[in-house]
């Protein structure tokens, strides 16, 4: 890892990944999930949930604290605000660390890891972070890495407490977007591109309804997910079509629900994975996109080119092709961009402009095209980690009612947006 991005596989022509099949995921832990932190219950704070997820992942792998020599996490917890100016609590909750993030140093101290030689608290969001963790183990920076990704949601309307959104001035690059109402994040540009998609292919927003309904269905089969726990009812087409408009045509049901939770994963070498509790799930490749458009708004064609390139990188590094991917869990934080991944990777032969027809076919987990068997973020809450944990569960054969009936030998998962993301290829076999 020569530099902050030197570990990335973000260029075509890099060949087969040098650690293909030599790194495995052997543990997963999912914490409790709430809509928001109540500000009182410390074991439901960001730090409390991170500890819970980490300890569950270690137990799932059959490891002890002393086996962990790498700690990797991201500060990108989407808290949208700091805990201050509210009063802090007694240690270890006496700073933002533990309340709106849980750094490697905080977890090391609070959980009591003694053998850590690699700590990283500034990893990117979970998509690229999963690739970074695989690369770190493959490169020998550590043998067994604990990786966790908290999502933080404090009280108040999400995003409305972000200081940027109440600023009466638009500094830096925001001067070219904010004065017209553009909100930072994935919503606006991808909605613009969705409108371009509909215009080009003669589609409409209604075409997303079958996807939304099926994601909720899958999410209700995920016991720890937000909807299974807190709002256990199946959404109807009528509800979706009459959903509260956010930015027309986007409705509230197109948006993943911000939640307060944490997931953790354990990566280790294929050699170390041999005698652990779980059957290893091997990593065959990871790939990233770090693109941006030419002008103010990236365009449909730019995003289509970006995902096509991502797919070529994934096929090149893994040695697999579209027909080899059994489980496919791409990001669905806003349903308006998910079709870019489906069509760009051409999963189950879906070509440009065909996604809505595919959604209207049988995408149930028990059917022939179990797209986003995880339920995604739309169906389980905005964890981003469900994409990866479902992939592992499907390959382990432990997805319960979500277990697909088609072959489940390989899985491809990743997030976030078509132009900026990280994807990882899992396999039951190292070759």
């Amino acid at each position: 890892m020569a530099s902050d991005t030197g570990w990335m596989r973000d260029r075509e022509g890099m060949g087969i990944w040098e650690h293909r099949g030599k790194v495995a995921v052997v543990g997963w832990g999912q914490s409790h999930m709430d809509r928001r932190w109540d500000g009182v219950t410390m074991d439901r704070s960001c730090g409390g949930l991170a500890k819970e997820a980490c300890l569950k992942a270690i137990a799932d792998a059959g490891l002890s604290l002393g086996d962990i020599d790498g700690l990797i996490t991201s500060a990108e917890t989407r808290a949208e605000q700091t805990w201050a100016p509210r009063p802090y609590f007694d240690p270890p909750f006496d700073t933002e660390d533990g309340l709106i993030k849980a750094s490697a140093e905080w977890i090391q101290h609070e959980v009591g890891f003694k053998n850590v030689k690699y700590l990283k608290s500034d990893s990117p969001y979970i998509g690229p972070m999963m690739g970074m963790a695989a690369q770190a183990v493959g490169d020998g920076l550590c043998e067994t890495a604990l990786v966790w990704y908290p999502m933080v949601n404090l009280d108040g309307r999400y995003g409305h407490n972000n200081p940027q959104n109440s600023n009466q001035e638009a500094p830096g690059n925001s001067a070219f977007t904010l004065p017209w109402g553009y909100q930072a994040g994935a919503m606006f540009n991808n909605l613009v591109i969705f409108q371009q998609y509909c215009k080009k292919y003669g589609k409409s927003h209604d075409g997303l309804a079958p996807l939304c309904l099926n994601l909720r269905r899958n999410g209700l089969m995920t016991p720890w997910g937000y909807y299974a726990m807190h709002e256990p009812h199946q959404i109807t087409t009528e509800e979706y079509l009459n959903g509260r408009l956010i930015e027309e045509p986007l409705v509230v049901y197109d948006c993943d629900r911000p939640v307060n939770t944490c997931a953790a994963f354990i990566f280790t070498t294929a050699e170390r994975a041999k005698d652990l509790r779980q059957k290893p799930i091997y990593v065959l490749n990871h790939a990233q996109n770090n693109g941006s458009g030419r002008s103010t708004m990236a365009t449909l064609e730019e995003h289509q080119d970006a995902v096509a390139s991502l797919a070529r990188k994934m096929w090149e590094g893994s040695g697999l092709g579209a027909a080899d991917v059994d489980i496919f869990n791409p990001y669905d934080g806003y349903l308006t961009f998910t079709q870019q991944f489906l069509e760009g990777f051409q999963w189950h032969g879906v070509k440009l402009g065909e996604a809505h027809d595919f959604y209207a076919d049988d995408i149930r987990v028990e059917g022939p095209h179990p797209f986003l068997s995880s339920g995604g973020n739309n169906g389980t809450g905005r964890t981003r980690s469900a994409l990866f944990s479902d992939s592992l569960q499907q390959l382990r054969g432990t997805a319960g009612p979500r277990q697909v009936t088609v072959r489940a030998e390989t899985a491809l998962a990743g997030c976030n947006t078509p132009d900026s993301n990280g994807f990882i290829m899992f396999s039951k076999s190292p070759s």
């Binding site: 995003g159 409305h160 972000n162 959104n165 109440s166 600023n167 009466q168 001035e169 638009a170 500094p171 830096g172 690059n173 925001s174 001067a175 070219f176 977007t177 904010l178 004065p179 017209w180 109402g181 553009y182 909100q183 606006f188 909605l191 613009v192 409108q195 371009q196 215009k199 509260r244 408009l245 956010i246 930015e247 027309e248 045509p249 986007l250 030419r294 002008s295 103010t296 708004m297 365009t299």
Partner: protein
């Protein structure tokens, strides 16, 4: 102030890179970066050419201010405080006729929310923000 009722636009804050652009707006002119090495127009401004990577070949060129509406959405639940009093409000993407690869944002003053004629020609106008800084806007050519 904006001609759209209830709208309080966040005011651009010029920096060393963008000052020529915003100064031109105050003179009711639209200038874009032009790379004299590869002849590419560039917007928003950047320290180097996005096409060929040259950093010392960027100049400014005034453009005509003619464009077309590509797509739009209607903001109904903005997180941005200055827009909450103006909802529903159009949010459109405008392509520049001189180079359709360049696009701008617009709230389309004068066009009722949701009644946006996609594909229609638009022309450049300017609106004042709270600091007095002018911003470029677009309106449908009647």
């Amino acid at each position: 102030m904006s001609t759209i009722p209830g709208l309080v636009r966040p005011a651009p804050v010029p920096n060393d890179l963008t000052k020529p652009f915003w100064d031109a707006c105050n003179e009711r002119r639209l200038v874009l970066q032009i790379c004299t090495a590869c002849e590419s127009l560039q917007y928003p401004p950047a320290p180097r050419c996005n096409q060929c990577g040259m950093a010392d070949k960027l100049d400014w060129r005034e453009v005509q201010g003619k464009g077309h509406i590509d797509v739009y959405l209607v903001m109904r639940d903005s997180r941005i405080k200055g827009f909450q009093g103006a909802q529903p409000i159009n949010f459109a993407v405008i392509t520049l006729d001189e180079d359709p690869g360049i696009n701008f944002l617009s709230n389309l003053p004068g066009t009722p929310p949701g009644e946006v004629p996609v594909g229609a020609p638009v022309e450049l106008i300017f609106e004042e923000t709270s600091t007095g800084q002018m911003v470029h806007e677009w309106q449908v050519i009647k």
